[in-house]
Amino acid sequence: MKSTHEITDISTEAKADEIVQSYTSEGCVAVKEQQLNGKWTVRAECPPTEV
């Protein structure tokens, strides 16, 4: 099963972009979205996780 990851409370959009890029480099599909408080969340869906 694919795994879903999210990192919340990112202070700026530029930092959110950096995390999107980081997830993408790991083979995940990542998107950013702005929270109601103005901070950002990045969500990523990644291939099945090894343990």
Binding site: M1, K2, S3, T4, H5, E6, I7, T8, D9, I10, S11, K15, I19, S22, Y23, S25, E26, G27, C28, A44, C46, P47, P48, T49, E50, V51
Partner: protein
């Protein structure tokens, strides 16, 4: 006047006056005759004949008995389905119109005694309507239950059809009877409700599995993060594979998952800040 009011109320509830919407057209076949033609499949003689038969005759008998029973259950199910639909729709519509009509008459009819009689009649009907509204939940949920009944019947019917394509040594008559009982029960309200409960339980478990698979963290990029990023991506963009393997090995050795997304979580979340310091130290970054 009271007699007139009684007559009007009776008319509203009479089959000739109330609008009863049927859920399905009448069947063109004589279902009574057709049901009677399936009766042999429920006789002991048919089972005895099957038991004493051999070879292809046995298979033909099995299939005839099972198909006849399926048809009998289908006929009974269709009647049940039509009853469920016509009961809810017909009664509700008749009562609504009667209430509206008498409310109107109460407002425009002259004498005080007449108004009182009409008002009392209206109250009685509204009371009856209130009782009927208690069935609202059943009426509104019936379509969902019926959809589940159809779903389950189709599933069991597929099992039966697959069974009948097999040899009697692999799928005997009594095994088919067990599936036929499942088929009959699938066409009941309790069977439909049980199916919905099971489906809801399975969906809940699937959703719980998905939720438990979500890895969530709060953003924190510290000095250790920066060192790990430089080690993982020395040029800033491309991953250094051997360094990545070193990070993953360290993560594995420290009981962390190492699947896709794990390094990003490790580097950028507050939850791993202490472990990052240890990783930087252990990896001598």
């Amino acid at each position: 006047m009271k007699f007139l009011i009684f007559l009007m109320i009776s008319m509203f509830f009479s089959p000739a006056c109330s609008t009863v919407i049927k859920g399905a057209p009448d069947s063109p076949v004589n279902v009574t005759d057709e049901l009677a033609s399936t009766a042999f499949a429920f006789e002991k003689a048919a089972i005895d004949e099957y038991l004493s038969a051999t070879g292809s005759d046995k298979q033909i008998l099995r299939n005839d008995i099972v198909h006849a029973r399926i048809r009998a259950y289908d006929i009974k199910y269709s009647e049940f389905e039509a009853d469920l639909f016509s009961f809810g729709i017909g009664t509700g519509v008749g009562t609504d119109w009667a209430t509206l009509a008498i409310s109107g008459l109460t407002a425009v009819t002259g004498g005080a005694s007449t108004k009182a009689a009409l008002g009392a009649a209206n109250t009685a009907i509204i009371g009856a309507k209130g009782a009927l509204d208690k069935r609202l939940l059943l009426e509104k949920t019936t379509p969902a239950v019926m959809a589940e009944m159809v779903n389950q019947r189709t599933r069991v019917l597929l099992d039966l059809k697959q069974g009948l394509s097999q040899d009697v040594s692999d799928y005997g008559l009594f095994q088919a009877f067990a599936d036929l009982e499942r088929y009959r029960r699938a066409g009941t309200l309790s069977g439909g409700l049980v199916g919905i409960v099971i489906s809801a339980g399975q969906e809940t478990k699937t959703n719980e599995d998905k939720i438990s698979n979500i890895v969530s963290g709060t953003y924190l990029k510290d000095e250790a993060s920066a060192k790990l990023i430089r080690f993982w991506k020395p040029g800033g963009a491309s991953i250094n594979s051997s360094n990545e393997n070193a990070i993953k090995t360290w993560m594995k050795n420290n009981n962390l998952t190492v699947g896709a997304g794990a390094i990003t979580n490790f580097i950028y979340t507050a939850e791993f800040s202490d472990l990052r310091v240890k990783a930087v130290s252990d990896l001598k970054l």
